[in-house]
Structure formats: C-alpha cells, structure tokens
C-alpha cells in the first residue's frame, strides 16, 4: 500500500513539475520562433518612427540605469542601517515595511508616482518613470543588503573592532567586502527585475516613438511600446512587438545569468 501511495505521489510531483516547466518552455519557444523571425539588424539602427527599436532599447536602459543610480545607494545605506546600526523597534519596522513594498503591485507604485510627479506637471515625463522604478528597486536592495550582511559572522566585526578600528571603518572595510558578492548579485537581480517592468512606466514616462534623452518629456520605453504595439491591428506592429519582447527577454535573462554566475564562482 505504502509503495503505491509513494508511486502516486511521485507521479503527481513529476506531472506538476512538467506542467510548470512546459509553460515556461512554451513561452520561450514562442518567443524564439516569433521573435527571431521578426528580428533583423535594421531594428537596432532605426527608431520606432522608422519601424525600428533603437530608441526604445536605449530609453529602457537609461530609465533602469538612472533608477539604479538612485535605488542602489539609498537601498544599501538603509540596509546597512537596519542590520548594523538600528536598535530597538525601528529596524524591525523598516524591515516589515520593506517586505510589504517588495510585494506591492507595481501598478500601484505607478499610480502613486503619477499623483505627484506627473499630474502636477501636466504630462508624462522621464523623471517620473525613473522615480517609479527606483521606488520598486529600493526595498529589494534593502532586503538583499540586510540579509547578506546578516550572513557575515559577528566574529569578523569583533575582530575588526579588536584591532582598534571604529565601527564604520569595520563596516566599510570588512563587513561589506565579506558580503560583496551576495549584495552584487542582489543588485543585478533587482536591476533585471526593474528593467523588464511595464506598469510603473505606463502612466509615468509612457513611451515615445522618437529617440530622446530629455527626461522632462515622455520617454521611450521598450516595455510600454510592446504593450502599445501588441494592441495595434496591423501584423507588422505585432511582429515588432514580438521582436521587442524577444530582445527584452534576452536582456533580462543575460543580467540574471550574470548574477548567478557571480554567486557560483566567488563562493
């Protein structure tokens, strides 16, 4: 009897795993077929007005990089505070808030940013998109920094202090170095996450058909344009959306793989 239950359970697990993996494979295969068939070099040389994706790719990366420029330092400093300096109830409070923020629906963050960075200024602008993405990024960085620092043994901090170093020197010279790989990986995964977001940009920076680096106006975005293109009736637009999806997936996948490569090799 036990053997039969065992076999049923095993079969059930295998089938569940196959269903999950099956969908993943289906997505990737569809993306590959539809995306690759629409992919050609001209996409990287022309802007969307001329049927290319150049401005969108650059725009998406610019938004993500600027958001990372705000989100990484703020998130790291906050993470260091709650793990190394915080006393009493505040670190727990920030930790809980940060956990909630990580799971906050990204469209809500978009709406929130719209209320103070878009509406008062009378239109979509790149700054609002950057703010929305950095708000998404900060709690992820806080959580990674916090948990990676928690893995550094307390003896290492004590050893630094025992040599006469002050607390901030020990944190900067020793503790962060010991947690470096983990924090780097977390940052890359957070970057990959925000680089592929649509909802926070949908009504903050929107998108643009033209090449632009002007953050005071609507800003080109690959993800938002995929959303728009997919809703167009013409086949050419939808093919372009497939190509854009393929490029986005490859970008995010590469950042992810690089993050994993870092952890595997340095630890």
């Amino acid at each position: 009897m036990r053997l039969i239950i065992n076999k049923i359970f095993l079969a059930f697990s295998v089938i569940s795993a196959l269903i999950g993996l099956g969908f993943l494979a289906w997505i990737l295969v569809t993306l590959f077929i539809k995306g690759l068939s629409s992919l050609h070099l001209a996409l990287f040389l022309n802007d969307l007005v001329n049927g290319g994706l150049r401005n969108l790719i650059v725009g998406q990366l610019v938004l993500a990089f600027l958001a990372a420029l705000i989100g990484i330092p703020l998130g790291m400093v906050a993470g260091i505070y709650i793990r190394e300096y915080g006393r009493g109830k505040y670190p727990e409070l920030i930790r809980d808030l940060s956990d909630i923020m990580v799971s906050a629906p990204s469209i809500v963050i978009g709406a929130f940013v719209y209320s103070f960075a878009v509406a008062p200024f009378g239109g979509a602008n790149g700054f609002a998109g950057v703010i929305a993405l950095s708000i998404m990024m900060i709690p992820i960085i806080i959580n990674t920094t916090d948990s990676m620092l928690s893995l550094v043994p307390k003896e290492l901090r004590e050893a630094g202090m025992a040599l006469g170093a002050s607390k901030y020197r020990v944190i900067l010279d020793v503790v962060i170095k010991a947690a470096k790989v983990g924090i780097m990986t977390g940052i890359l995964l957070a970057f990959a996450r925000i680089a592929g977001e649509t909802a926070p940009l949908l009504f903050t920076s929107e998108t643009s058909n033209y090449f632009s680096l002007d953050l005071t106006d609507s800003f080109p975005s690959l993800t938002v344009s995929i959303y728009n293109l997919a809703n167009e009736p013409e086949k050419s637009s939808r093919d372009l959306a497939w190509a854009a999806s393929f490029i986005l997936t490859v970008m995010v996948l590469l950042i992810n793989l690089f993050g994993r490569y870092l952890t595997r090799n340095k630890k």
Partner: protein, 260 residues
C-alpha cells in the same frame, strides 16, 4: 608589576538579573602566559572579553569594580572600565589585541590583512608598512609559507595558517597584551602545536591571557592558571601548583576530570 590588574570585577549581561562574574580579582603578569580554565559557562570568556571591552559592541552590559591596564611608558595604571570615548576605545584595543576561536581573516589579501591595524593606526609609509608586515609574519612563523603570495586572498589559506595570520595581524600593531579566546579549538593537532609554540614565543614581547577548554594545553604553555566556576574565581596560582598541588577541592576535581 602586572600588566593588568582585575580588581573586584563583576559583570552582568544586558537584560539579565544575575551577574555572570562575581568579584573577580586577578593579575595578568607581564611577559607571562595566564590561562583561564573552567567548565563551560564558568565566565572565562566573559572575563577575557571584558579585558578589551569588546562586550561594548552590544549595549546594556553592566561592569563593576576595576580592570587596570599598565601604561608601559608612564608606569601608571588606568582603569579601562572608565573608557567612554571612541578614541580611547581605539587606543585600548591597540594595546590589548584579541584572537578568536574561529580564525577571522578579512576578505582581502594576506598583506592587507596584516597591514589593516597599522593603517588604522595611521601608518601610511609604504616601506614601513611592508617592513612591519614582514616582521609580523616572520614572528608568527608564517613568512616562509606566504612570502611569495602576499597579494593573494587570505581566504585561500588553511585554518591553521589563517589563525597564524590573525596572530600576525594582532602582533603587527605591537600590543602590550594579547587575549586568546580558545584559539586552537577549531584546529587540527598539528596546527594546534604550531599555535602553542607561537604563543610561548610571543611572551618575550607581549603578555598573554588565554581561555582554553583543554587542560593539557593550559599545563603545557601557561605560567599562571586561574580556575573559574559559575562566575567565581576559585583558585589562581602558578600553573604547576594548580595542576600538581591544588588547594581547593573543586580545582582538584576539575583537573582530575571528576566534573566539567
């Protein structure tokens, strides 16, 4: 003239009613090795960690009594329990170094590990740094093994080598006292032997207090031994007297393995 004098010292951990150490009075003799022995929970590590006030990383502990440190230049004692300012803590910890149970190499090169305390102390001159790193590594019997890979990460060394590196790092800042907190309990017998030899050699330059679970170790290397039990100092004497001729029944019972 002892380098440290612990006088009527009591210690209570934050959030605990009962003190962990009661009324301890004990000298740490200059250029000698003083071993602190006793069963787990007797307070020997707590006492050791009071001697450089590393406890203060965690707030709320209570000290009572005095721990005096001799200033080797002025020949005057100063009560380290009075210390409140950051720069005085830094000065104290430069005079009283510490080695931990598990080796604690920093995630940087072998050279930078040894140079770390020196840089903290404000030494910037490259040749002086290099000279003192070399001298410390030679003094810790590690130079021969690492001289051709000083720029490699210290994490690649074996456990025993890492512990000797930590000793080199502590020695480099020329402390008056080095505190060893069970420095060999994570090491194999051969590495343990090397560390023990090293500690005995070090006493020409510094005074040493060592916490150990290993009574053979205490009897092999120490000049004085303090036996502690449940937060009290039961007996302190020359090591040979403690091991061959203890005055207290409890000391004898512990030494002969009847409890602990």
């Amino acid at each position: 003239m002892p380098v440290m004098n612990i006088k009527k010292f009591s210690f209570t951990y934050a959030g605990v009613e009962e003190p962990s150490l009661n009324n301890i009075t004990l000298p740490i003799e200059k250029n000698k090795i003083t071993a602190l022995i006793g069963p787990s929970g007797c307070g020997k590590s707590t006492l050791l960690r009071s001697m450089n006030r590393i406890h203060d990383l965690y707030p709320g502990n209570k000290y009572d009594g005095k721990i005096e440190l001799l200033d080797l230049e002025t020949k005057k004692y100063r009560n380290i329990l009075d210390i409140k300012k950051e720069n005085e803590f830094i000065e104290l910890r430069q005079k009283v170094g510490m080695i931990f149970q598990k080796p604690t190499p920093f995630p940087m090169s072998i050279f930078d590990n040894v140079a770390y305390g020196l840089k903290i102390a404000g030494i910037k001159n490259k040749t002086e740094l290099a000279d003192r790193v070399e001298a410390s590594l030679k003094g810790s019997a590690l130079w021969k093994e690492v001289h051709d890979r000083l720029n490699k990460s210290a994490m690649g060394l074996s456990g025993g080598q890492q512990q000797r590196l930590c000793i080199a790092r502590a020695v480099a800042v020329k402390p008056e006292v080095i505190l060893f907190d069970e420095p060999t309990s994570a090491l194999d017998p051969i590495s343990t032997g090397a560390i023990e030899e090293l500690i005995v050699e070090l006493k020409n330059d510094v005074s040493i207090a060592i916490v150990t679970h290993n009574m053979q170790q205490a009897s092999r290397i120490s000049d004085y031994t303090a036996f502690m039990y449940l937060g009290d100092l039961i007996e302190y004497d020359k090591t040979e007297n403690i091991f061959l001729n203890p005055k207290e029944k409890r000391t004898e019972d512990y030494i002969t393995g009847r409890f602990g």
